[in-house]
Subunit: 249 residues, 2 copies
């Protein structure tokens, strides 16, 4: 039996996703404190150490509110990053200085959040010195934040297929095309227009608003809303357990 005293700092880092109608974006912030060794212009995910009386979920919510001004947004845990060497010594110095703590090790818990992008939020995040960057264009981040982001993205992909998280990324009213573009952007696949509409409508979770696009130089598209209560009903009548061994992939 091992009885070594061992304790670690625990942080959360949030991959915050938004969708601009065409591209999937992630919220990145500039590191505020830089030293000679660490370049001033690299980006990181919003994150924080957890406070004494906080759950991890609570810490992640707080981070989200600090960086976007939003409460009650979709937020879910992904993985934990616990490699003892996940941050270099230099990075460790930075972290201790930035957070005003002293520790030899930081274990971080990844979260992913989904945000409905509006002008208000974009302005707010800009004011906070944050940026919404196309996920496809992100090839480097501070520390292991690219790993955390990639992991979050892969979780998002899975969830998009099996649960209606898509609607967390769309405005209240949206067109079929926006919904379809979202699937295309996140999953990176081509989707047939007709089959897509058929499939979505067959679930009955979309409610037509009767309103249409205006000032578009083509046939205006109808706006829909997500019928969450209808979805709940479907969810409860889940008799789809014949799905034994979908191992075709």
């Amino acid at each position: 039996m091992t009885t070594v005293e061992t304790s670690s700092a625990i942080s959360v880092d949030c991959a915050v996703f938004g969708f601009d109608g065409t591209k999937l974006k992630a919220l990145l912030i500039k590191r505020k404190y830089t030293t000679d060794d660490l370049s001033a212009d690299d980006l990181k995910l919003p994150g924080s150490m957890i406070l004494e009386n906080e759950t991890l979920q609570g810490a992640a919510s707080r981070v989200l509110e600090e960086s976007t001004g939003l409460r009650d947004i979709f937020l879910k845990q992904t993985s934990i990053f616990s490699d003892p060497d996940r941050v270099s010594d230099k990075e460790m110095d930075w972290i201790c200085r930035y957070h005003g703590i002293k520790t030899r090790r930081v274990v971080t818990v990844g979260y992913y959040a989904l945000v409905k992008l509006t002008d208000g939020i974009i302005n707010y995040t800009l004011k906070m010195g944050a940026r919404w960057v196309d996920v496809d264009d992100i090839c480097h981040l501070a520390m292991d934040h690219l790993d955390i982001l990639s992991d979050a993205l892969s979780v998002l992909r899975k969830e998009m297929i099996y649960s209606p998280v898509a609607f967390e990324l769309l405005p209240k009213r949206f067109t079929m095309r926006q919904l379809q573009n979202l699937f295309i952007a996140v999953l990176g696949v081509e989707i047939d227009d007709r089959n897509f509409r058929k499939k979505i409508f067959s679930t009955g979770i979309l409610k037509p608003t009767g309103e249409k696009e205006k000032n578009v130089s083509h046939k205006p598209a109808e706006y829909y809303t997500f019928n969450r209560s209808e979805f709940r009903k479907l969810e409860n009548s889940r008799n789809k357990l014949g799905f034994i061994g979908n191992w075709s992939y």
Copy 2:
């Protein structure tokens, strides 16, 4: 910006599952140190604090090896349990004494492991004072370990449907009936014999051994093995991305 010094002990707890041909079992251990307040006969999941230079996965592997004598078994992270009040003060005393540490808070990371039950392992675990208990019969565990176990079970259920983890729980050679019973036990559903065989065979991931049961008072069943390389092939040719919006549940 909050700059409170904060650090926590991090532990791992492992839900270790085994299958005896009919029932799904979990490995439980008795708490070794008891006090006046804590009853001596409650059970917990195998677990440990993480050591200084260990990843979480490493700590979980170590726990598994300590409690089963096995290395290289299936092991995967589930969730993190970080409620500041997840263990009572009394429990906290026990933990500090048991692990020889001093801390105000323990965050624990859940893992689930899958073990091929053999006489060897059952004997080993018995010698270690551990027991294999029907998961259906477990209604109380120390601390929040029942939550951790339930969470692990729900992850196992999902994984059983979408990936071939079933074979981690079966001996190298197994009959169709064993495989089917495993699905029934884990998923809690009825499964039609003929459709099940058809589905499994159609994937091509089972290799007949030509060998049959002996000394059974009925037509002897054939033994099969899991064709992992064939599965890898299937896995790589995953062109099943038409699965858009399986929200029928």
